[in-house]
């Protein structure tokens, strides 16, 4: 036993030897095997379904007649189906796979009652399926991010309770002394989402609030699903994976504290910036703008903390699929959040509001940041759950290049097109007439929309590579005599 470990053990009896910790990690991995594989399979099928919906919706922007005869695939429905499949199907399923596993590892305790976890997951997926079919059948609710019809949502709430409660209870059963920063984020997120979801359902669907309070609740909810559910989970995963893979402690505990609490303090105010220009009392919008700008603090803090942990280890990081995806996500967290703070300023928002800029921004956040970190987490988790290696480094490499290049191009195209769109829609000549007719602006955007579909095809190629690699890994029978080698992306690493 190394000397520092002995001293730590002497001071705090809960500090265990590294070997004992590794035995506990092995227990965590084994206990998470069945639910992890189940949630990953569900997440992957939803990812593919959501990708197809996305492509259909994107093509309709430049080829209006595409699937024009099909009522279920009209733009209004297929766009909502895409959003819900990605957030509740892909995003939440992959969180159910990754979050309990990381939480269990950090709590040094195996995941208990995994059968209930899986049953909750089955019902979650049934609920999402009912919801998506409800949307396609025309039963959707006109509230963004809550489009699923009311007959699907109670099932979702119960299924989430059955599943999410184990992450909270894992923390209760923890056998670790120190509480690591990822645990704060996960614990908070698993309290925040049920709170958001039930309040939003009650105030918007079952007992609707009146007047503008509806739209306030809507954007409070929608922005916070990103800010208080996807963001803390992705940040928690990055906080776990970066030091874990690189074998180096997180730069500063103090920065972690500031980053977490300032996120908790500021993020849930920020959604009001979606209503700038709307008939909302001025102080509410100003408060939303201020909170959005104050989000610069947690973003800068997390950026410093992650950067200082990675700095100098870029070569190792580049070789590791996990670090490649996670660092890409972390960099984009900084970029998307700083852009988001700027977009919350009234003068900027006047241009970007109701344009493709906002669409690009949403993909920047949910895809470039959240989804890429989740890809990284899956690349790290699956070999440990299955005791197998990823069969193809080439497919991982294809996945990385296609998605990273694809989504970056998409964000650039939509931001540029959206900005020009906003400027042209707002352009007023001296005598008060519009400079560009609406149709002129739409026609101008056509090449951008074609570009967006092409980047979507690129991302789809990446997803297919990931899909193949995952099921190849599930189906392969590893030879027990050959030593397992990690699947890395560069040979010299």
């Amino acid at each position: 036993m190394s000397v520092p470990a002995s001293i730590a053990t002497a001071i705090d009896p809960r500090t265990e030897s590294p070997e004992a910790i590794r035995v506990r990690l092995s227990e965590v991995d084994t206990s998470m095997k069945v639910p992890g594989v189940f949630f990953m399979i569900s997440a992957l099928f939803w990812l593919m379904a959501g990708t197809v919906f996305a492509l259909i919706a994107a093509i309709k922007f430049h080829n209006v007649d595409f699937l024009g005869d099909s009522e279920a695939f009209t733009f209004g429905r297929v766009r909502s189906a895409h959003l819900n499949a990605m957030i509740y199907g892909w995003g939440t399923n992959v969180i159910f796979a990754v979050a309990p596993w990381i939480m269990g590892r950090l709590c040094r305790t195996r995941i208990r009652f995994t059968n209930i976890l899986v049953i909750g997951g089955v019902f979650w997926n049934i609920g999402v399926t009912i919801g998506i079919f409800g949307i396609l059948a025309g039963d959707k609710i006109g509230v963004e991010w809550l489009e699923m019809p009311a007959y699907a949502t109670p099932l979702l709430a119960i299924a989430f309770a059955c599943t999410g409660v184990w992450v909270v209870l894992l923390f209760r059963w923890r056998e670790s002394g120190h509480v690591y920063v990822s645990q704060w984020y996960f614990l908070a997120a698993f309290f925040w989402l049920p709170w958001l979801y039930t309040i939003a359902q009650i105030m918007l669907v079952f007992e609707p609030a009146r007047g503008v309070v509806q739209s306030l609740t809507n954007w409070w909810f929608a922005h916070n699903v990103l800010g208080l559910w996807l963001t803390p989970i992705a940040l928690g995963a990055a906080y776990y994976l970066i030091p874990k893979v690189l074998g180096r402690p997180i730069y500063s505990y103090y920065l972690s504290v500031i980053g977490f609490w300032s996120l908790a303090l500021f993020y849930n105010w920020a959604g009001v910036h979606h209503l700038i220009g709307g008939p909302i009392p001025a102080w509410l919008i100003s408060a939303g703008t201020v909170a959005s700008v104050m989000m610069v603090i947690p973003v800068i803090v997390v950026a410093i903390n992650h950067h200082m942990t990675v700095v100098g280890l870029h070569k190792e990081g580049w070789a590791s699929p996990t670090i490649r995806f996670v660092v890409f996500g972390a960099i984009n967290y900084t970029a998307v959040s700083l852009l988001g703070s700027a977009m919350a300023l009234r003068s900027v928002n006047e241009v970007t509001h109701f344009t493709h800029f906002t669409v690009g921004h949403a993909h920047h956040g949910v895809y470039s940041f959240f989804t890429m970190i989740m890809f990284g987490a899956v690349y790290y988790m699956m070999p440990r759950l299955l005791n197998r290696e990823w069969p193809s480094a080439m497919l991982i490499s294809l996945h990385w290049w296609a998605t990273a290049v694809g989504v970056t191009l998409m964000v650039v195209v939509l931001s540029l097109g959206g900005w020009i769109q906003g400027l042209r829609l707002n352009a007023i000549s001296d005598d008060g007439t519009v400079v560009y007719q609406f149709m002129e602006v739409m026609e101008y955007l056509n090449p951008y929309m074609v570009m967006r579909s092409l980047t979507g095809v690129l991302i789809t190629i990446g997803h297919v590579a990931f899909f193949i690699n995952f099921f190849w890994m599930l189906c392969q029978r590893p030879d027990p005599r050959t030593p397992a080698r990690p699947t890395l992306l560069t040979n010299e690493a």
Binding site: M1, P18, E19, I21, R22, L25, S26, D29, R105, L106, H178, Y180, V181, I242, K244, V245, L246, G247, R248, P249, I250, S252, Y254, L255, I258, P281, A282, W283, S286, A287, T289, V290, V293, M294, V296, I297, I300, M308, L313, E316, S320, T322, R346, G376, Y379, P383, R384, N387, E389, W390, D431, G432, T433, P480, P483, A484, R485, P486, T487, L488
Partner: protein, 246 residues
């Protein structure tokens, strides 16, 4: 796999390597736990101090937030929607605002009329009659108001040329908007008509009389009420008996 070290054994002498070879030297065990054995230690946190510039950044942002809320806080009033307005002005009634009828009319024209009658008012030969230098425009304003409110269909003659088309009704526009757009086409020098302005009161009067009419007017119907289009009409030389009191 995502570890940075390739070998199942961490290189000896590496910092934070936590293995003791003899405990995990069993080969079968190693193979079974290859992924677990090669991974690095569970993450921990360093205690580097917070960079100084961050303190200043937080101070500057908090200061800005305070200024912003004072400046654009809308006095934390539930009925204050314009962040730049002061509450005193909000309740003061400064009386009716002076409206530039020409500017308003130009805007209404460009949004509603220019699609057919053209931005320069020249219309389209044989299809849409012109409003620039047109006899109809310089005629009795009541005729124009009627056409604007309920539309016009069927054959007419403008400046001696025949047209046979249908014009949409614009009854949804307010009295002031209709008065403004008619004032604009009748008086704006760029359109070449030389007539007098139309008042919202006149529009309101015609609307009260004919507002219930849903079907479009026809040329002969209007001629029956107002007489033939002269192109140089004024209340003093008006020839039709019904509008004489105007």
């Amino acid at each position: 796999m995502s570890d940075s070290d390739k070998s199942p054994y961490p290189p000896s002498g590496e910092s934070r390597s936590t293995f003791e070879g003899h405990r995990f030297s069993d080969e079968g065990l190693q193979r079974k736990h290859a992924q677990l054995l090669r991974e690095k230690e569970e993450p921990s946190e360093g205690f580097s101090p917070m960079p100084l510039f961050l303190v200043f950044l937080i101070m500057i942002l908090s200061f800005w937030a305070g200024i912003y809320m004072v400046e654009y806080g809308g006095y934390f009033d539930a009925f204050h929607f314009d962040e730049t307005a002061t509450p005193g002005i909000l309740v003061q009634d400064t009386g009716p605002q002076e409206v530039d009828m020409l500017a308003l009319g130009r805007r209404v024209y460009s949004q509603n009329c220019a699609i057919c009658h053209g931005a320069d008012g020249s219309g389209q030969a044989g299809v849409f009659p012109p409003v620039a230098r047109a006899d109809w425009v310089q005629d009795n304003p009541e005729r124009l108001i009627k056409v604007t409110l309920a539309g016009l269909a069927g054959p007419i003659e403008v400046n001696g040329r025949p047209y046979n088309n249908a014009m949409t009704a614009f009854g949804r526009l307010s009295d002031q908007q209709i008065a403004a757009v008619l004032t604009y086409i009748r008086t704006d020098p760029a359109l070449g008509n030389n007539s007098y302005p139309v008042s919202p009161e006149l529009v309101a009067q015609v609307r009260a009389e004919w507002g219930a009419r849903r079907n479009a007017w026809t040329g002969p119907e209007l001629e029956e009420i107002h007489g033939p289009v002269t192109g140089n009409w004024s209340p003093s030389n008006g020839s039709t008996p019904e509008t004489a009191e105007e």
